[in-house]
C-alpha cells in the first residue's frame, strides 16, 4: 500500500498537497518558526492596523498580529480535528465490528437503532447540544461533540464490510482450520476494511475542521485563551465594517486547510481503490 502512495505523491499535485500538509503540521508543532510575533503580545498602539509590511495580515483590537494568531491556531485546529476523527473512528469501528461480527441479531439491531438515532440529528445541532450539555470550557467536550456525529458513518462502513466478508470463503476456511474469531478479524477482515476507513478519515478531517470552526463561531467551541480560527471570525465579526481582515483572514485559513485535506482525501482514495467509494463528498 505504501508503495502506491509513494507513486502517487511523485506527481506534481501530489507533491504540492503533501507539502501543504507538511506546512500545516509544521505550523501546529513549531509555530514559532513560522512567525516572529507572539500571538498573545498586546500592543495597544498597534490596534486594528490594516495589513502592512510589519503585520502582513494586520492586527486585532489589542494589537495582536493576526497572522501569528492564525499560525498558532493551526495546532488547535489539527489537534481537535485529529482527536475527533480518531475517537469516532475507534468507537465506530468497534461498533461496526460488534454489530457485524460478534453480536447476534439482537445486538446488531440494538446498535443499528442507536446509529439511526444519531443520524436523525443534523450534525451541527447534535454537536451544539452535546457541547451545551458537557460545557464548552473543556476542550474534550468539543472533541466529543464533533466525534459523536461521525460515529455512524464509520459504524455503517465497517459493519457493511464485515457483513460482506463474513460469508467469504477465506473466512470460513480460516475458521474451519480452528482460527479464533479475533484472529480472523485482525488478520483478514480488518485489512480489507482499512482502506475505506483511511479515506473516510482524511475526508472526515476536513469536515471536522469545518465543524469545529462552526461551533467556535457560534461561541460553543474552543474557548479562550486557546486560539481558534472559528472564534477569530466570531470576535472579528463586529469589526467587519472597519477592520475586515481580523475576521476574513482566519476564514481563508479554514478554507485553505479544508481544501488541502479534501484534495488529500481524493488522492488517497484514488490511490487505494478508485472503484469504490463513489458518492457525495461529505464535508
Amino acid at each position: 500500500m505504501l508503495r502506491r502512495f509513494a507513486h502517487r505523491f511523485a506527481t506534481p499535485t501530489g507533491r504540492f498537497f503533501g507539502a501543504a500538509v507538511f506546512v500545516l503540521i509544521l505550523a501546529a508543532c513549531v509555530p514559532q518558526l513560522l512567525t516572529p510575533y507572539d500571538p498573545l503580545a498586546i500592543q495597544g498602539s498597534a490596534s486594528l492596523e490594516a495589513p502592512n509590511w510589519s503585520h502582513v495580515l494586520g492586527t486585532d483590537l489589542l494589537g495582536k498580529d493576526v497572522l501569528s494568531q492564525i499560525v498558532y491556531g493551526t495546532r488547535t485546529t489539527l489537534l481537535v480535528g485529529a482527536s475527533a476523527v480518531v475517537a469516532s473512528l475507534i468507537v465506530g469501528t468497534v461498533m461496526g465490528l460488534v454489530a457485524g461480527f460478534w453480536g447476534g441479531r439482537a445486538i446488531d439491531e440494538a446498535l443499528m437503532r442507536v446509529i439511526d438515532a444519531l443520524q436523525v440529528f443534523p450534525d451541527l445541532i447534535l454537536a451544539l447540544t452535546i457541547v451545551a450539555i458537557l460545557g464548552p470550557e473543556r476542550l474534550v467536550s468539543v472533541v466529543i461533540a464533533l466525534a459523536v456525529g461521525r460515529v455512524p458513518a464509520y459504524a455503517r462502513l465497517v459493519r457493511g464490510r464485515v457483513l460482506a466478508l463474513r460469508e467469504a470463503e477465506f473466512v470460513a476456511a480460516a475458521r474451519s482450520l480452528g482460527a479464533s474469531v479475533n484472529r480472523v478479524l485482525i488478520r483478514h477482515v480488518l485489512p480489507q476494511t482499512s482502506d475505506v476507513i483511511v479515506v473516510r478519515s482524511v475526508i472526515g478531517l476536513a469536515g471536522v475542521i469545518l465543524g469545529e470552526a462552526a461551533l467556535s463561531f457560534l461561541g460553543l467551541g474552543v474557548q479562550p485563551p486557546t486560539p481558534s480560527w472559528g472564534r477569530m471570525l466570531r470576535d472579528g465579526f463586529q469589526y467587519l465594517a472597519t477592520a475586515p481582515w481580523v475576521s476574513l483572514a482566519p476564514g481563508f485559513a479554514i478554507f485553505l486547510t479544508v481544501y488541502v485535506f479534501n484534495q488529500l482525501g481524493d488522492i488517497v482514495r484514488d490511490t487505494l481503490d478508485p472503484r469504490v467509494l463513489t458518492g457525495r463528498k461529505a464535508a
Binding site: I42, G63, F237, Y239, A241, A243
Partner: protein
C-alpha cells in the same frame, strides 16, 4: 363614562401601516440612502438584542425598557439630569412624618384597552408587584417598605411606608412604577408580556419574535400633541456589522443601547452626516472580588490591583478613547463629587502594596472570569496586573452563567456585567455595598458604610444625603472590593433628521417624543 372607540381615529390601520413600511422600503430600493418609510412618519430604532418581555413587572430587561416607556407610563419619570417630571401623577408630596407619600393623579386617562386609569389601578399595580405569586423580580424593592396603599378618592393615592424612604421616587420611575392595565393582565394571563396594554403614547401593534416590535401612536394619549411619530419600529441586531450597514443604508434612523463597538462609534462621530448623542448619565465598570475568599480577603492585595490598573490605557485601546478612565463610582447626579477622582495609576505604589500583602510568598495564579465580549479587556487587565507581579489566568464564563455563579459565590474574581444607573444613589449603592444588600455578591462588610447608607436612605434632607454618599464612596473605593476603572455614557447614533431624542437618567432612551423630519 362612555366607552371609547377601539380604533384610533385618524390613525393608521394595520394594513396601512404595513403597506407604508413596505412601500417606503421598496421605493428606497431604487437608490441607497433614500428615506424609507419616512412618508408614513415612522421612527425606526435598533438596539442590541430582541425584546424578552413587554411586561414591565416581570422579566423586562435592558432591551425591553425603551419599548416599555413608549407603551407604559410611570407616575413620574426622571429626565436626563435626574429631575422628576410628572407623568401619570400631576403632583406629589411627602407627609410630615415622612411615612406617607401622596400622589395626585392625572384625570381622564385611559388605557389602550379603554379601561380608565384611577387610584385603584395604581393600588392594584403595586399589589401585583408585592404579590409573591406574580414572580416579579422587583418585589425586593418595595417589600418591607410599602406597608399599605390607600385611595381616598378616585385620583389620589397614598403609599404608607414603614420608614422614611426617599429612594421611593426613584424606584417608581423604573419598571415597577410603570402602570399596566389590570383588565388586560386578567385577560391575557401569562401571555400579557406579548400583549402589553398601558397608558403610554404608543399602543402595541405587533411583536415578531426575533425580528421586531412595532408600536403605533395612541390617538387618545393625554399629551397627544407632543407625539410626532406615527409609530415606532424597534428592531434588534445580533451583530454590530449589521446595524452599521443598515444605518448607513438608510434603513434605520437610530441605533442605541449597546449598539456599536467603539470603533464604529468614532467613525460616526467624525462623520457629519450622522449625529451621536451621549447620555448624560454614566455606567461604571469594575472588577469585582469576593472579599471573604482568600487571597482576596487581603486588603493590601486588592489595593495593589487598584493602583496597578492603567485605566487610561484601557480607555484608549479597548474603548478607543470613548468614555472616561476613572477610579470612582459616582459621576453625575447631585451626589457625585466632582473634586474626587478615585485612585490613580501608580505602579510603584501597586508593587509596594503587593509586597505588603505577602502575595509573593505564595504567588497562586488568580483566575479572572470574563464574559466573551470582554476577553480583550480581560487580556489587557491580565497584562497590566502581571506587570505588577500577579499571575492571572483568564477564563470565559457565559452571560447566562455569570450572575448566578457570582451570586452563589462560585466566581470570586470577575468583571461583572454592567448595571444601569438609578436616579437615586441608594438604588445601586445599597444593594451592592450595604452588608444587607441582596446583590452584595462581593460580601463586602463595612459597618461605617452600612451606617452611612442606611442613614442616607432615611432622611429627605438632600445636603445630608449628599455628604453621606460622598463619604461612603471614598470608603468603598478604598476598600477595593470593586475596582473601578471606566465609566461611559450610552451613545445613540442617529441620522440628522431625527429630532427630539432624549435619554432618561437611567440610560434608557425616551423615544416617545422623537420623530424624523422629512
Amino acid at each position: 363614562m362612555g366607552t371609547r372607540p377601539r380604533r384610533a381615529r385618524g390613525g393608521v390601520t394595520r394594513r396601512q401601516l404595513l403597506a407604508a413600511a413596505g412601500g417606503g422600503v421598496a421605493a428606497a430600493m431604487l437608490g441607497p440612502g433614500r428615506a424609507r418609510a419616512q412618508e408614513a412618519g415612522f421612527l425606526r430604532v435598533a438596539r442590541g438584542a430582541d425584546a424578552r418581555s413587554l411586561d414591565p413587572h416581570i422579566n423586562a430587561r435592558l432591551y425591553d425598557r425603551p419599548v416599555c416607556y413608549t407603551l407604559y407610563e410611570p407616575l413620574l419619570d426622571a429626565d436626563a439630569h435626574g429631575n422628576f417630571i410628572p407623568k401619570l401623577a400631576t403632583s406629589w408630596e411627602v407627609g410630615s412624618t415622612g411615612l406617607v407619600i401622596t400622589f395626585h393623579l392625572r384625570p381622564n386617562v385611559v388605557f389602550h384597552d379603554g379601561t380608565p386609569f384611577t387610584a385603584d389601578v395604581v393600588k392594584w399595580n403595586m399589589e401585583r408587584i408585592l404579590d409573591p405569586a406574580t414572580g416579579s423580580e422587583h418585589r425586593t424593592r418595595f417589600e418591607g417598605i410599602v406597608q399599605g396603599i390607600q385611595t381616598p378618592d378616585k385620583y389620589t393615592v397614598q403609599y404608607y411606608l414603614t420608614r422614611p424612604y426617599p429612594p421611593f421616587f426613584s424606584e417608581m420611575t423604573d419598571r415597577p412604577g410603570l402602570m399596566v392595565s389590570p383588565a388586560a393582565v386578567q385577560k391575557y394571563g401569562k401571555d400579557f408580556g406579548r400583549n402589553p396594554v398601558g397608558t403610554g403614547p404608543f399602543r402595541f401593534q405587533e411583536w415578531v419574535l426575533g425580528n421586531r416590535v412595532v408600536v403605533q401612536r395612541n390617538e387618545q394619549y393625554w399629551n397627544r400633541a407632543k407625539i410626532q411619530s406615527t409609530g415606532i419600529i424597534f428592531t434588534d441586531f445580533e451583530e454590530p456589522a449589521v446595524a452599521d450597514a443598515r444605518l448607513r443604508g438608510g434603513e434605520l434612523d437610530l441605533v442605541t443601547i449597546e449598539g456599536l463597538p467603539a470603533d464604529d462609534l468614532l467613525a460616526f462621530q467624525k462623520d457629519p452626516t450622522y449625529r451621536v448623542i451621549q447620555s448624560p448619565a454614566y455606567r461604571w465598570e469594575a472588577i469585582e472580588m469576593k472579599v471573604d475568599t482568600p487571597p482576596f480577603d487581603n486588603l493590601a492585595l486588592r489595593q495593589a490591583m487598584m493602583y496597578g490598573l492603567n485605566r487610561q490605557q484601557i480607555r484608549d485601546v479597548i474603548y478607543r478613547g470613548f468614555g472616561q478612565a476613572t477610579g470612582k463610582i459616582f459621576h453625575e447626579g447631585w451626589w457625585a463629587d466632582p473634586s474626587y477622582n478615585g485612585p490613580a495609576f501608580d505602579l510603584t505604589m501597586a508593587r509596594q502594596k503587593l509586597k505588603e500583602s505577602d502575595y509573593a510568598a505564595r504567588p497562586v495564579p488568580l483566575t479572572l472570569y470574563v464574559l466573551e465580549s470582554d476577553v480583550p479587556l480581560g487580556e489587557m487587565v491580565q497584562a497590566q496586573l502581571q506587570a505588577v507581579g500577579f499571575t492571572i489566568n483568564i477564563r470565559l464564563v457565559s452571560e447566562r452563567d455569570q450572575y448566578p455563579m457570582v451570586l452563589q459565590g462560585q466566581i470570586p474574581f470577575t468583571i461583572p456585567a454592567d448595571w444601569t444607573p438609578r436616579v437615586d444613589p441608594h438604588g445601586l449603592a445599597y444593594i451592592l455595598w450595604d452588608s444587607k444588600g441582596y446583590a452584595n455578591s462581593s460580601h463586602y462588610k463595612n459597618p461605617q458604610v452600612d451606617k452611612l447608607l442606611d442613614d442616607a436612605a432615611a432622611t429627605y434632607d438632600r445636603a445630608a444625603r449628599t455628604k453621606a454618599y460622598r463619604e461612603a464612596e471614598r470608603l468603598i473605593v478604598n476598600d477595593a472590593s470593586y475596582i473601578f476603572y471606566y465609566a461611559s455614557p450610552d451613545p445613540a447614533i442617529m441620522r440628522p433628521q431625527v429630532q427630539g431624542f432624549t435619554y432618561g437618567f437611567d440610560l434608557i432612551p425616551r423615544v416617545s417624543e422623537t420623530w424624523v423630519k422629512s
